[in-house]
Symmetry: C2
Subunit: 115 residues, 2 copies
């Protein structure tokens, strides 16, 4: 997984355990595509300070994931749900019964909501 | 949910963010049903110190849950999975096709693994 996607996901999961400033700068850098210089200017701090705040926040995010593994669990679960959705498609192909089709669509929707 | 069940679940989820001692004493108190006095004796500390360590750990667990809501998400998901399993049972009742039954059993197992 690309680093900016990984950090964004981790920040969505664990962001509330960071300081407000760490969250804000990580979001500016990774989601809003601002450069370190732009962020520095907006916050009236040095480029180095921006880099340090982002680095510290990132390290905390990686540390949380190393200990709690929630992102890994979510990604594993997503794969499993995709596998079940494929099974449901197979089931639908097996049957032409309208009642079964309706039930399958219902189950499919509920499964997608689990994600 | 009873408090000891809640604390045990939270400790399973967030325990790695506590200190080793906090985890150990919470486990002794909530899972191994030791009294504060017994834990104090085993650790050669005062009863009040045991109470403080457990309280501090508990507070951290509740704080993590308040911010991250992982236990809530897991419990909600479990309910949704139970609802889907009920739908699958309905589906099975609708059909007497052996092929469908086999596919349903497979899907059921995969769903239970999601828990």
């Amino acid at each position: 997984m690309e680093k900016h996607i990984e950090v964004s996901m981790l920040c969505q999961i664990y962001g509330k355990l960071l300081t407000e400033k760490q969250c804000e700068l990580i979001n500016d850098y990774y989601n809003n595509d601002l450069s370190l210089s732009e962020i520095a200017e907006n916050n009236q701090i040095t480029r180095q300070a921006v880099r340090d705040i982002i680095k510290k926040g990132e390290n905390k995010l990686f540390e949380f994931e190393e200990k709690l593994q929630f992102m890994k669990k979510m990604l594993d679960q997503e794969k499993q749900i995709q596998a079940i959705l494929l099974e449901l498609n197979k089931l639908q192909e097996t049957s032409s019964d309208k009642k079964i089709e309706k039930l399958l669509n219902h189950i499919r929707k509920e499964l997608i909501c689990l994600n």
